[in-house]
């Protein structure tokens, strides 16, 4: 591999100031499963790699006891999210997504922050986090700031990070009552493959466990950036969740999507699959929400 100097700062301030000193010659690295491949392929050639692996000794998602928010450090590995009992219980939509990213070997090393800042349209991690109304916390020379994760994605490979800024955390609001979600990665195989389509549905139910109080329908690879289908969400709101309403919501979501032809699939097929999978994930979310409420 091409030579570089590996810098291992212990704090965010140190990392940001190293990046300031070396500018374009430096690149941040966390798990390295994308950055090292890009270096090997000659797509990037940094002289300095600034590791974020040793900052913030926070290796698992944790619950903020005061606010009830789930904090996921950007340098948490996919495997740590996958094996977190907290995530599996309260945020199954996130579990669905991370358990099929890459392979065990990749998930043991690759971080959720790395998945997000790459901002590829097919990143599985982003969809459930957006469906859960996640916020991104960012740190840079100008200090700390926060943005809705949905707005964090600006285009393929482009995210809302100024030069030298670091994504430090994703914060998920406390789970709503009677809520659950489900995510599916649609492709030719589950492991070691980018999705042809990613569909996440998060539902909050009224006390009758049938009427939709709030819906989030998020799509990956259906537009240059992760997409929230607001018309489909609005359609579901206040309606009884069943096959009929979800079929209609799926159709609306398909119309809202901006799918295109690519090597992994053609647009018309993707649009039809949006409709099918929104319905399936909606039914799964409904079942999960009901199951959670059972005494």
């Amino acid at each position: 591999m091409r030579r570089f100097t590996y810098l291992v700062p212990q704090t965010l301030d140190e990392a940001v100031s190293l990046h300031e000193s070396y500018g374009d010659h430096a690149k941040y690295i966390a798990g390295g499963t994308d950055v090292l491949v890009k270096i090997k392929e000659g797509k990037v050639a940094p002289e300095y790699l600034i590791s974020l692996k040793h900052i913030l000794k926070q290796d698992r998602p944790y619950l903020n006891q005061e606010t009830g928010e789930l904090h996921i450090g950007a340098f948490v590995t996919h495997r740590a999210i996958e094996t977190s009992p907290l995530v599996k219980l309260n945020y199954p939509i996130l579990y669905d997504a991370v358990k099929n990213i890459g392979s065990v070997q990749i998930r043991n090393v690759a971080t959720i922050g790395g998945n997000l800042v790459n901002a590829v349209p097919s990143a599985d991690g982003a969809i459930p986090l957006i469906a859960l109304d996640g916020k991104a916390q960012i740190y840079g020379t100008k200090g700390r700031r926060s943005t809705q994760l949905l707005r964090f994605f600006l285009g393929p490979g482009q995210c809302d990070l100024e030069r030298g800024e670091i994504l430090t955390n994703v914060i998920i609001p406390p789970p709503q009552d009677r809520s659950a979600g489900a995510y599916v990665k649609h492709g030719r195989r589950q492991a070691m493959e980018l999705p042809m389509l990613g569909v996440g549905v998060q539902l909050g139910l009224e006390e009758d466990l049938a009427t939709c109080a709030r819906a989030r329908i998020c799509l990956g690879v259906a537009a240059p950036t992760p997409l929230r289908c607001r018309q489909a969400e609005n359609y579901l709101s206040g309606k009884t969740i069943d096959e009929l309403s979800l079929t209609e919501a799926g159709k609306i979501a398909g119309e809202e999507s901006r799918v295109r032809d690519s090597i992994r699939g053609v647009a018309w097929y993707r649009r039809e699959m949006v409709a099918v999978l929104v319905k399936r994930m909606g039914m799964k979310a409904l079942q999960r929400a009901k199951l959670k409420e059972q005494p």
Binding site: Y6, V37, S51, V104, Q190
Partner: protein, 174 residues
Amino acid sequence: MSREIAFTFNSNKIAITVEDHWTLLHLIREELGYTGTKEGCGSGECGACTVIVDGMAVNSCLYLAAEIDGKELVTIEGLTSPDGSLHPIQKAFVENGGIQCGFCSPGMIMSAKALLDENSNATEDDIKDAIAGNLCRCTGYVQIIDSIKSVSGYYQKEAPQVVAWKNDEDDRGE
């Protein structure tokens, strides 16, 4: 740049100088001379380079040597006993035809070991998940899955007990 690191390699403590741009795979094969770990794709797709770091399976081709500092590394060479006898997982691969050309075997076996160390009662689904990142172009995976199943406690418990007939000595009551 180079740096001094110290880590545990197959139960032996070692200290060595590494270059920042070396991968763990380079360190293992080219510097330490242990060639059991293979390089396949070099980009994390094939799993031939799988080793165990602090109990977790990782692709050594995408892991910087500098990051092994202070950690515990196990490669395929670390599975065999000092007297040369094979590890139960290795034996299982030999006995069940889990090995044909042998190129994927070290990585496959390390993935299996990481799984069984964590969950000694792994089911077929657990096994498929654990080896999803290991490509094999010979076996079609069936024999590999059978090999790992044969050492998983789950199948030993589940397997129905088979009582064989004993020659003619005990045919009373038949």
